[in-house]
Amino acid sequence: MTNLAIKTENLTKRYGSLEALKGVDLEVPPGFLFGIIGPDGAGKTSLIRTLATLVLPDGGRASVLGHDVVAEYRSIRNKMGYMPGRFSLYQDLSVLENLQLFASIYDTTIEKNYHLIKDIYQQIEPFKHRRAGQLSGGMKQKLALSCALIHEPEILFLDEPTTGVDPVSRNEFWEMLEDLKKKGISILVSTPYMDEAKLCDMVALIQNGTILSVNTPAEIVDSYNTPLYAIKATNKYQLLKDLKSYSYAASVFPFGEYIHYTDQRGLNVVEELKKHLEANNHSGIEVVSIAPTVEDCFMALMDEQV
């Protein structure tokens, strides 16, 4: 028997004519904080819902903790925690009532497993008699995570937990995940934010229902072997247009206040670029050679796909 936390083979899922998953092969080792990163509509939610035994796959196989998602779904449900993208606890029940309900559904009590949720739950405990619907976004998320953890799961599925959450709460949330991982819980988390990739142990990039690559964040950056330039000028829009129409341009992406650029020539072209831009009447020009981030690698990978 495999000791992988998650294993899928040629997993497919379709909704009518829409193919949400086109043969996904994935192996997630136990105890990993594994990220699934991809744009909206890439198939992240379909993959997580299939693994969480909420929908049946149309083809291929998938197993979680060695249990088949179709035949042995009941064993999986006892061992996993799931947090859907949309807040799905009872808004008209209080924090405590929600937690009690989920504890009793799993035939356990809050007291028994308090140690598991202590760090997270303590932050919302002062509001335990408040209705869940009246909590702030960050607090709702902590409650949802507490409810997903109350039965001591071996694996956690988190579907876009940080979407629509402020940057401070996002950081906090990732710290919580790090702590949970230390307790030996395998975590599968999906996110549309590429900057969160570097916080994972391993990252799978998914697009159009296909996994493009599975790597550690460091490997991803290492695999990026073309020189990358960050370019800035006063008129950013004009700059973007000019760079895109530049005959040597390989890729051009807006990235914060800079534009990330790669060149087909593969040499150090800082000076040439400066000259080219000056010739096009740009002012405040800044061209620096930089080290790539995970996001650059993904943009490049996704570009290759298209």
Partner: protein
């Protein structure tokens, strides 16, 4: 068991916290019961009568005063000639016209009989039927009086009937005063319990689908039957509480007699609620939003209510419609409520009703459970 207990507790908490639903569940049915039972009165009094007396004799005046004296009629006009009566009916000033021919008294005295004419506005069939019955009653009473006074050979023949040689006397069993409330209140009570049960259960699971909470429940190891029992039990309980409140009102406000065994009725109601909740559950497995569930329940309930035998006697329906009512659960409960409450029927008399409702409940719940899959 522990899990079901917690699910029921959660459901009850949610119901009692829902400030919008609570009044709907308890106050509105009570108000409806009180209002509907007073309004749904089929008794017709004060029918507008146009009296055409072409004879102006002692005999004709006697008939007029008899009609006037009846609580059913109100003479709104009188005159000579048919056309006046027709005009009155045309202008909705008369529900019926009675016309006595010229020489009415003379013919009755000499030949021993005469004919009078009765014309009835039959736009409302029920009303027309009743008007005809009431008028016949008054006229046969008049007949009797004439015979007593002037000898048995004299009789009046209504235009559309043969001579009234046989007298009919009535005795109304089980509802001696023909009190409509006695008849209607138990039926309306059934409707209210049905509506509450069907609407609440059909909208409940679909609500969890709509707001997404069913996802979080579905990933847990909860078993189908636990979830469904947890969902239906609170509404089953509510239905019985509702029924009890209704019985109390029927007894205190309307003084409806309760002749049969109350436990038999509760037993039947418990079974009946299972059927209704199963129907609601089935609807909620077919729908995606509360709106859809509401409309589908509404559609079925309207058909069931109108064909329940409460507003139109099932015996009056065409044969095919009578057959359709065999599939109407409300029909059975209304029959049983009336039989047990008013007639004092026992278990043996309602055994077929019990069997049918039981089979129906098993079928609907089975279908609902089959349709309800945790992995959507």
């Amino acid at each position: 068991m522990r899990i079901i207990y917690y699910l029921v507790k959660k459901e009850l908490l949610q119901i009692f916290r829902n400030k919008g639903m609570l009044p709907i569940i308890f106050v509105i049915p009570i108000i409806q019961l009180v209002i509907l039972s007073n309004a749904a009165d089929f008794e017709i009094k004060n029918l507008k009568l146009y009296f055409i007396d072409n004879d102006h004799s002692a005999f004709s005046r006697l008939l007029q005063s008899k009609l006037e004296g009846s609580q059913y009629f109100m003479i709104t006009g009188s005159g000579l000639g048919s056309q006046n009566g027709d005009a009155a009916m045309q202008n909705d000033l008369a529900d019926l016209v009675i016309e006595l021919p010229r020489g009415f008294e003379k013919k009755l005295m000499r030949e021993g009989f005469d004919k009078i004419q009765l014309r009835i506005n039959a736009i409302d069939g029920t009303k027309a039927g009743l008007a005809s019955i009431y008028a016949s009653e008054v006229i046969s009473d008049y007949n009797r009086e004439i015979r007593d006074r002037y000898g048995a050979s004299r009789s009046l023949i209504l235009d559309h009937t043969e001579g009234n040689k046989i007298e009919i006397t009535y005795s109304n069993w089980y509802n001696p005063d023909l009190n409509y409330k006695t008849f209607m209140v138990p039926g309306i009570l059934v409707l209210l319990v049905t509506m509450i049960g069907a609407f609440l259960s059909s909208m409940n699971i679909v609500r969890e689908k709509e707001i997404g909470t069913i996802e979080q429940i579905n990933v847990t190891p909860i078993k189908k039957h636990q979830f469904i029992i947890g969902k239906l039990f609170p509404f089953w309980l509510l239905g019985l509480v509702e029924l009890s409140i209704g019985f109390l009102i029927a007894w205190l406000v309307f003084e409806v007699p309760f002749i049969g065994n109350i436990f038999l009725l509760y037993g039947f109601a418990a079974l009946y609620l299972l059927l209704i909740l199963g129907m609601g559950l089935f609807i909620s497995t077919l729908t995606q939003t509360q709106q859809q569930a509401m409309f589908i329940s509404w559609f079925f309930l309207v058909v069931f209510i109108l064909m329940s035998g409460l507003f139109t006697a099932i015996e009056n329906m065409p044969v095919w419609a009578q057959k359709v009512t065999l599939f109407n659960p409300i029909r059975y409960f209304i029959e049983v409520v009336r039989m047990v409450m008013l007639k004092g029927s026992g278990l043996f008399e309602v055994r077929w009703h019990i069997l049918i409702v039981l089979l129906y409940a098993i079928a609907l719940n089975g279908l609902a459970v089959f349709r309800y899959r945790k992995t959507v």
